[in-house]
């Protein structure tokens, strides 16, 4: 029998572990590691929160800017409306007649044979007119009805 002799009540001698030999330093390291983790987390959270605040501020700032610009646009619209009313005032026949009298201009109504229609066509209208006249080789005598058909005033 392979029985080890000796008193079984004698306490076994404990072999000191490696950790206990350098224990203080390790604990400190782990503490710093934990603090580092927490700090990192706090920083991360803070950064996110800061970004959120910053973005929110910028959105609000942009909204405020939009509101200001809208107000300025409304103001400009009102100025335009004012200028339009002045233009309307000064293009009425009574006003023009007043000015003719004021400056003694020798103006009179034209007679029919002294009038000539000048029309400004868009490129598309011009192309349609050209197509019409070259295709049918017509003389331009009275094309008012034809122009109406083609949607040209």
């Amino acid at each position: 029998m392979n029985i080890q002799p000796g008193n079984s009540k004698t306490p076994k001698r404990r072999v000191p572990s490696h950790s206990e030999t350098g224990g203080g330093f390790d604990a400190l390291c782990s503490l710093f590691a934990r603090i580092g983790q927490v700090t990192l987390f706090i920083f991360l959270f803070g950064a996110l929160f800061h970004t959120y605040i910053k973005l929110d501020q910028e959105i609000n700032g942009a909204e405020a800017g939009i509101r200001r610009i809208n107000e300025e646009c409304a103001e400009i619209d009102r100025d335009i409306a004012m200028l339009k009313t002045r233009r309307d005032d000064s293009s009425t026949l009574p006003f023009i007649q007043q000015q003719i009298a004021r400056f003694g201009l020798d103006l009179h109504y034209v007679t029919q044979d002294k009038q000539q229609d000048i029309r400004l066509y868009t490129n598309a209208q011009l192309a349609r007119l050209k197509r019409y006249y070259t295709a049918e080789s017509r003389l331009i005598v009275d094309n008012s009805s034809r122009r109406a058909q083609m949607g040209i005033r």
Partner: protein, 609 residues
């Protein structure tokens, strides 16, 4: 020892209980405030720092067919003020902090401020300084029912209702220079209606809410104001980072384009002014239309009012009498009966009708006996006896049918509220009524109905519906919406009828016709005069109504005009040929030049120059 320990313990317990009670009370209060009364208190808090503001948008404009503004909008600023905020509030925080000796001088400072503000307001807005000073009184007395008098703050006075932007800018500048802040003043941006042409078309356009197109088309003209909720600080400044949001996006009203030509309208207005000054009638109604499509090119009446100066509005000049007043038109009705008789084969253009030699026949009178004449001559000389006999040849039913065919008794322009349908003689007609109907004395018509009916004669029997609204620009999306042309109706069985009547109407303006004063050099004019006695108190009076309806160029009409001048005394020129035809001539000759209508006889134009 034990005794002392017990005492301490009991005190600690008391303290703990008190703390718990306090904490419980706090929790309960928190529960009440945050949970039970949450909605109510939140609303209360929000109402104190939240307000809504709206921005007025432009009411739709009314423009002519070429886009010239007839009625626009002018931006203005309404300046109001709270006298209490201007005079009292700046000194409120000083009252407690100032030393006793200085505090007594506060009323003097208030007076000085009130005086300075009044001086600037009066100078900038052209007001009486003393009146402004009196208006700036910050307190007013209020008597209660039991007779006791208390002082209340005055928070609202109107400084200037429609101030120009420049005035307000100067005011702000002067207040800044005088080191007076603008707290207590309120500046509200508004638009007011602007009438660049003054009286032109005033009766047709009317005033917003008071009739005319402004009322009938208000559904489209009205703008939708925008509204937004804003949060304000204690100093009444908008919190830029507050929960500000737009509740309703506004948009401008729709712009309405009429068929009116601004220039033709201006010509008509000028000539009506001249006729008004020349003849001083009670009323003038006139309308110029394009007979080919019924588009109204110009329309006017006298008397009219100035929409800018509302003191000119009277009962007799405000409404649209042109559409609302139906009257006995007289001889301008004759061509319709001749046309119908020709079309139905009752007569031909060579049929001879005996107009007698005495100039009198059963109450109908002619200036002299015309003898036996054809229908063309009867129209040329406007023979009442000839027409009376022609009507008897047609018969009462056909005469009544003629009036219905030419759509008398039916509204010509339904967009005019209060438009008269006119009145037709009751059927079956007796012979006397039949003869009177044929000379325009038994029916009531409006000038619009006359213009519509004449356009059928001008355009080969095709009668268009009158149009005043041409198109509309949607204020929300800018889309242009065309108003449709109503279906037209052919009145004559025989296509040559209208041409025959037109030739007869050209003879009316011949040198020996009743309408010779309507002649226009270079053009054939087709038209008919009308002179009717006005009925007053059930009897024919010495007052007359002169009319002229005609179209030019007669064989290819571009413009048609109907004019009625009402209230001409017998002692002065009162006939359609003397009074209405010259107005027609003046208007039409200018309109033809403006429209550049090629003349029928160019050599006449050159000769006349």
């Amino acid at each position: 020892m034990n005794q002392a320990l017990r005492q301490v313990r009991s005190r600690i317990w008391c303290l703990v209980v008190l703390c718990l009670l306090f904490a419980g009370a706090l929790v309960y209060r928190f529960y009440v405030v945050q949970i039970l009364r949450h909605e109510e208190l939140l609303a209360k808090a929000q109402s104190s720092y939240t307000s809504s503001r709206s921005q007025q948008k432009e009411r739709g404009k009314i423009l002519d067919v070429n886009g010239n503004t007839l009625v626009g909008n002018m931006p203005r600023i309404t300046v109001t003020c709270s006298p209490y905020s201007v005079v009292e509030e700046p000194f409120l925080h000083l009252e407690k902090s100032l030393k006793a000796g200085v505090r007594e001088r506060l009323p003097l400072l208030r007076e000085s401020r009130r005086r300075r503000v009044a001086a600037i307001v009066a100078e900038c807005f052209d007001l009486d300084e003393n009146k402004v000073y009196a208006d700036l009184e910050p307190w007013r007395e209020r008597r209660s029912e039991n007779g006791s008098v208390s002082r209340v703050k005055r928070h609202y006075i109107m400084i200037e209702k429609y101030a120009a932007k420049e005035m307000v800018e100067v005011f702000r500048q002067k207040m800044r220079e005088a080191d007076l802040h603008l707290g207590g003043f309120n500046f509200e941006n508004i638009y007011i209606r602007h009438y660049p042409h003054g009286r032109m078309l005033s009766n047709i356009i009317g005033l917003a809410g008071l009739g005319g197109l402004e009322s009938s088309e208000s559904e489209f003209l009205e703008a939708q104001s925008s509204s937004e909720t804003i949060q304000r600080s204690g100093k009444d400044q908008v919190l830029e980072y507050g929960d500000n949001h737009i509740n309703q996006a506004g948009h401008d009203g729709d712009d309405i384009y009429l068929t009116i030509h601004e220039m033709i309208q201006a010509i008509l207005e000028e000539e009506l002014d001249r006729a008004q000054a020349e003849h001083e009638p009670w009323r003038i109604y006139a309308v110029v239309i394009d007979p080919s499509n019924g588009n109204i090119l110009a329309i006017s009446q006298r008397p009219n009012f100035d929409p800018v100066d509302r003191s000119t509005i009277r009962q007799d000049n405000f409404g649209n009498a042109l559409a609302g007043n139906a009257y006995e038109p007289g001889s301008v009705m004759k061509p319709f009966f001749v046309a119908k008789a020709l079309d139905m084969g009752v007569i031909t253009q060579d049929t001879i009708i005996d107009c007698g030699n005495t100039g009198e026949w059963f109450g109908l009178k002619d200036p002299r006996g015309y003898g036996e004449q054809n229908p063309g001559y009867i129209l040329k000389k406007s023979s009442n006896i000839g027409m009376g006999k022609l009507s008897l040849m047609m018969g009462a039913d056909m005469v009544a049918q003629t009036l219905r065919d030419f759509r008398f008794g039916q509204r010509a322009m339904p967009i005019f509220s209060g438009e008269s349908r006119g009145m037709l003689p009751r059927t079956p007609m007796r012979d006397l009524t039949t003869t009177r109907a044929a000379i325009g004395y038994a029916e009531l018509v409006t000038v619009l109905q006359l213009a519509r009916a004449y356009s059928a004669l001008a355009c080969g029997g095709v009668m268009p519906e009158l149009r005043l609204l041409d198109r509309r620009r949607d204020g929300e999306n800018g889309k242009m919406i065309e108003y449709p042309y109503p279906a037209e109706k052919q009145l004559f069985n025989n296509p040559g009828t209208a041409q025959t009547v037109t030739e007869m109407l050209i003879s009316v303006t011949a040198p020996d016709g009743t309408g010779r004063r309507a002649r226009i050099a270079g053009y054939d004019v087709a038209g008919k005069t009308g002179t009717a006695q006005i009925v007053q108190n059930g009897r024919f009076s010495d007052w007359y109504r002169a009319s002229f309806c005609g179209f030019v160029p007669a064989r290819n009409p571009r413009v048609l005009m109907a004019i009625t001048i009402e209230g001409l005394p017998y002692s002065k020129p009162h006939g359609g040929g003397n009074v209405a035809a010259p107005v027609f001539q003046r208007v039409m000759s200018r309109v033809l030049r403006y429209l550049n209508v090629p003349p029928d006889y160019p050599e006449q134009l050159n000769r006349g120059r």
